[in-house]
Amino acid sequence: MPILISEDLCVKGCTLCDQFCPGDIIYRLDPQKIPEIRYEDECWYCGSCEEYCPTDAVKIVFPQQMLHSQTSAESLFGKFPEETKGNNKAAKNF
């Protein structure tokens, strides 16, 4: 879960996190209940909810992929031309 909300600290009636979330991820349709994180895989991790919560009830939790990324830089560059040429790759040896 990318966003943790403390039931003890969250103030009933406040809907700031719901309004501030740019991704429509935090829902507090009933201001008496704890806000619901509906679409956790769509979080930007921007931290607006945490930053603007008036009672510090919101905490962003970074997933392991963000704290300990194992992605190789090369995989972000896309397929290399020789990888996409199939049989032509062997031709380079002649």
């Binding site: 501030f20 740019p22 945490e50 992929q65 990324s69 992605t71 830089a73 972000l76």
Partner: protein, 576 residues
């Protein structure tokens, strides 16, 4: 979930502004000042927090006419052709640059504090290869709330959590848009005499280091909605081959890292060598695309991992850096803390971000909807501004051009705007086009569909472009278009994601098509063709322009006019 029980809201207005970020807000302000009836819509929940820099911003490009020789529009204009690698529309850029001094003062009057409170002066610095200290560092955490307040205080009607899906046309003229509320599913049909498109850039296009699609450098909820809508309505788009990426801490694709290089951080490779000076005499202060290019080259040369090193920076600069890092992305200081990285003591690993479609790494030239010097598109009644257009320059570009678009749209609506009536069956047909993913019960989810797009863009457009790969990208993206009709939305939020996915695919197809056409390399890794690795000014000093067809895009060229800037002459005028 039902889609037909709710009555549609039908609204008539003079100017409809689609997008409530910086460009959209200034457009609403500009149109309101001329007395037009204005409606502004955004997908976000609070106008103060809509748009790319909703959470804050830490710098603005400014011409303040504050004394130095470089601090004038004329001086900056002379450097534009070279700064944009000669692919630029000088007429529209001139509107932008001549509007800068007036816009700085207008924004200050709206309550934005650009001056450093401790000195009473602008804190200016040189970055991105610009020929002067054009950037002002400032606390922009209240920037968006301040300008939004001016919109709220105007007569503009504001519709939040609202997404525009299609532009409405009558005899080649734009006469409004179809929209829906992303939570209630309420269908809106807005008739407008003029429309300003201002939905920003396109993100979620390709893979990044965390593997999380929404962890993106720029706002992941900006998905090329305007570019795709405009294309579907017959508008021309240009410069789409130039994509943009940046250097981010590995694991978090974040804004705010510009401040690092601006304030003097170094990049070092695995051997501890500071390598940037090999690539550009400006070192780490080189243009963004050159920074990315150097990091790709170092990685391919086997010199990864690459680190950002701040250890040599003096204490006051480090303190300023730590202050500004959290402004663009409030969670960034926390990320450093959780990783237990102390900038004073150790370098941290960096890598390249995902792509976005915005301005190909250079200020002033945008990748997007082709506009003229008055922000008009080729479609009558349709205007565009900000990062969705061919003039893109951060928040000042969005502000100047947005304001101009609002004024132009208001004038157009007064003199030429059509009051269009629609038949009930036309409205019903539009509603069907908008809500179709809600009626599909077992199709692809927007998430799965988007992953397919990102795979094609990452693998076959990528950093190492070739004719063979790009043909495959065009083909695959065309095939994905045929899968659109099977998109399935489980609620109205999902309906928004379904339309966003369609728009991302549309932009990706434009990028692939234009990149295939430009048979040269230009702007480092914003467009690098392995099969045409050199810049070819004799054949390619021109813009590539796209027009959507039933299948694919018609590709055209537009010559570049590099005229001398007219001495102080421009219609751009900012009412202060």
């Amino acid at each position: 979930m039902t889609t037909d029980s709710k009555p549609g809201l039908i609204l008539d207005t003079d100017v409809l502004v689609i997008g409530g970020g910086v460009a959209g807000c200034l457009a609403a302000i500009g149109a309101s000042e001329l007395g037009a009836r204005v409606a502004v819509i955004d997908k976000g929940g609070l106008l103060e927090r809509c748009g790319s820099i909703a959470a804050g911003v830490d710098q603005i490009l400014a011409v303040a006419e504050d004394g130095p020789e470089w601090d004038t529009p004329d001086y900056l204009l002379q450097h534009i052709p070279k700064l944009t690698d000669y692919i630029v529309d000088m007429k529209s850029v001139e509107t932008f640059i001549r509007g800068l001094p007036g816009m700085l003062r207008k924004l200050e009057r709206l309550g934005v504090p650009f001056k450093d409170p401790s000195t009473g002066k602008y804190f200016r610095h040189r970055t991105f290869g610009l020929p002067g200290e054009y950037h002002i560092d400032f606390d922009g955490s209240k920037f968006k709330p301040k300008i939004s307040r001016a919109v709220i205080d105007s007569n503009a009607q504001i519709f939040l959590r609202t997404m525009a899906v299609n532009l409405l046309a009558h005899k080649d003229q734009t006469v409004g848009a179809s929209l829906f509320h992303i939570r209630t599913g309420e269908f809106h049909f807005f008739r407008a005499k003029a429309v300003v498109l201002a939905t920003g850039d396109t993100n979620r296009l390709s893979r990044n280091s965390s593997g999380l699609a929404f962890d993106s450098w720029h706002c992941p909820y900006n998905t090329g909605d305007a570019q795709a809508m405009a294309a579907r309505s017959g508008a021309l788009l240009a410069n789409m081959e130039f994509t943009e990426n940046t250097i981010t801490p590995k694991g978090i694709s974040s804004q705010g890292t510009n401040s690092l290089t601006g304030l003097g951080a170094h990049f070092i490779n695995a051997r501890g060598e500071r390598f940037m000076l090999k690539y550009d005499p400006a070192g780490e202060r080189a243009r963004r695309d050159i920074l990315t290019s150097a990091i790709v080259s170092e990685t391919l040369a086997g010199n990864a991992p690459i680190y950002c090193d701040c250890r040599h920076l003096p204490g006051d600069i480090l303190a300023r850096l730590e202050e500004t890092l959290g402004v663009d992305r409030p969670s960034l200081p926390r990320w450093f803390k959780e990783k237990e990285i102390d900038l004073k003591k150790e370098p941290f690993e960096v890598t390249v971000s995902e792509f976005s479609s915005r301005r190909g790494g250079v200020y002033f030239r945008g990748s997007g909807i082709l506009i003229d010097d008055k922000t008009a598109t080729n479609v009558i009644g349709l205007f565009a501004a900000g990062d969705c257009s061919t003039v893109s320059g951060g928040i000042s570009g969005a502000a100047v051009m947005g304001y101009e678009a609002g004024k132009q749209a208001a004038r157009f609506s007064r003199h030429n705007g059509a009051e269009q009536r629609f038949q009930d069956q036309e409205i019903a047909a539009e509603k069907e086009r908008l809500f179709y993913p809600c009626r599909n019960t077992d199709g692809a989810s927007p998430r799965e569909y988007e992953e397919k797009i990102r795979r094609v863009v990452s693998d076959y457009i990528g950093y190492q472009r070739t004719e063979e790969k790009l043909r495959k990208a065009v083909e695959e993206l065309g095939r994905l278009r045929s899968e659109e009709s099977a998109l399935c939305a489980r609620d109205y939020h999902d309906l928004m994601r379904a339309h966003e996915a369609r728009n991302i695919r549309e932009v990706a197809e434009m990028v692939a098509t234009a990149a295939l056409e430009r048979r040269e390399s230009r702007g480092s890794y914003s467009h690098f063709r392995v099969d045409f690795p050199n810049r070819d000014d004799a054949n390619w000093r021109k813009m590539i322009v796209l027009k959507k067809q039933d299948s694919g895009y018609e590709v055209g060229h537009r010559a570049i006019e590099l005229r001398n800037p007219s001495e102080g002459k421009s219609d751009a005028h900012i009412d202060q």
